[in-house]
């Protein structure tokens, strides 16, 4: 299992909501095998808990319903349980919690979130979120580079 797991998620058929998914697709091209694994998924499912348990760093990328559209927000995550109706989709903290509870460990984790302008039907994103897609990819690559080989230029 790769040391770093990148999970971009969202619905690419719902405009800006797909920004995380698109970011993962774009990032995957630059990380062919090796220490970084990239997943582009529509939603978080419990099965990801197993993969997370074998990673050292997890980077989640998602759209956000609130905030200035096109901003790129970064926050650290910690495992967190809760009584949510967890069935076949989950939140990153819930997955981290499941990873620790069921598979023995949870990685260090961060979430890049991008507030949306429109999540209507359609495959194209609004201009501010499309620009944020470029920025988030640069930031994720920089974070990965720093983790894999501290002090080297980004991939």
């Amino acid at each position: 299992m790769a040391r770093i797991l990148i999970v971009g998620y969202g619905n690419p058929l719902r405009g800006d909501d797909g920004v995380g998914f698109h970011a993962a697709v774009r990032l995957a091209a630059g990380f062919a095998g090796g220490e970084v694994e990239v997943r582009a998924v529509h939603q978080l499912t419990p099965e990801l808990a197993d993969d997370l348990s074998r990673a050292e760093l997890a980077i989640f990328i998602d759209a956000a319903a609130e905030g200035e559209p096109g901003a790129v927000l970064l926050r650290r995550l910690s495992p967190e349980g809760g009584a949510q109706a967890f069935t076949h989709q989950a939140t990153p903290p819930a997955l981290l919690s499941a990873s620790r509870a069921l598979f023995g460990s949870a990685p260090e984790a961060v979430l890049f979130s991008i507030p949306v302008e429109s999540a209507g039907f359609g495959e194209s994103m609004t201009p501010p979120v499309a620009r944020a897609l470029d920025r988030v990819c640069v930031q994720v690559r920089a974070m990965v580079s720093e983790r894999i080989a501290p002090g080297t230029p980004e991939i």
């Binding site: 419990p46 197993d50 809760g82 949510q84 109706a85 069935t87 499941a98």
Partner: protein, 474 residues
Amino acid sequence: MPRQTIVVDPVTRIEGHSKITIHLDEQGHVEEAYFHVTQFRGFEKFCEGRPFYEMPSLMARICGICPVSHLLASAKACDAILAVRIPENAARLRRILNLAQIVQSHALSFFYLSSPDLLLGMDSDKTRRNVFGLMEKYPEIARDGIRLRQFGQQMIEWLAGKRIHPSWVVPGGVNEPLTAERREQILGHIPEALAIVERTLDWYKSSLAKFGEEIRTFANSPTMFMGLVGEGGGLDHYDGKLRFMEPGGRIVEDAVDGSAYADHIGEIAHPWTYLKTTYYKPLGYPQGVYRVGPLARLNLIDRCLMPRAGQEWAEFRALERGAVLSSFHYHHARLVEILYALEKIEQLLNAPDILTKNVRAHASVNNNEGIGVTEAPRGTLIHHYKVDDDGLMVWSNMVIATGHNNAAMNRGVLQVARHFVHGNRLEEGMLNRVEAVIRAFDPCLSCSTHADGRLMLEVELRSAGGELLDTMRR
């Protein structure tokens, strides 16, 4: 006491949007109950005018849980339009993909959706009655569920390129042969998956005695059964002929070619739901109500030829004399089918010519009509297309597993409501049982209305005059 209606909206831990209404008489006794499907999608209409060869990938969008089922039924309908017999190895690979789908979908239904009821209890704290509660109390079982579903999904990805909405299956076969590396990857994980399902069957069977009341009342009624039966009367999820069985176990019609489905299956629409209801035409509605899916399939077959699954099937059939009628046993049937699927996948992957590169037949439009029938996780799935001479879609009809079960689910809701619901009070556990009977069928409403999402549960108790008497929210 005035007449009242209890509304369970939405029903939770199922695929899609629905609600249940329970109507009480003046004495507070349950008079009637309905399972309403409140979403509508309309795939049958908006595919008109599109080229038929787009149908497999377009129709797979009906569902994110069982896209493979739609992909396969659609591709089979397209095979019929091409008038081709697909290469033997293409059929074998499609069959493996379908079984991988059975594994992941049944694991989702059993472990994620229903096992909180089974392990934590129908009356347990509703805030913990979910997979998180399961993780805390039964981490080994939660881990098994995750691993099993993960393996099912992984097989689909290894075979078809991606887990959801893969495009590997095409009219005429599949678009790439299997590689030796992929075969070895799948085979390497089979032993762990078999061990998981076997220990799950052990604890499930040992806990059955706790659910006597539910077994007696969960859609336990004398309906018919319908499904595909393979050559020699064996279990077959990809091909075969339709068989209709009476509740007592007598086969009333056999070896019906899927292309003749319309002669045997009638469809009706109700004003209170977007989900169509089917029935066995010769008996009419409602006498011809039947069930499909794992319970039906295990009732319909004459034999189960996989060694471990065969033993479990024999035990399953001994649960009741004649056909197994209680819909609670859908859970048990799912586990037996996962076992079967894993054994069968192993057998198919060890076929000597599984890596043969000839996996697709090419042709143009040779028929203006095509019908494809497969067994989806939830039951028999029929795609029926008509095209013009240029291969553009002019008409389509899809008969979905959840539709076949609609009448039986409604009967089940009524039966459970009459047994557990009493009008002078609302108790969470009894309402959970009304939902649980629906979960036993594992309906996929995204499919059957040709939405996804999750809402809060709200139950309202209203008088005949509309006055809100009581409310419960989840």
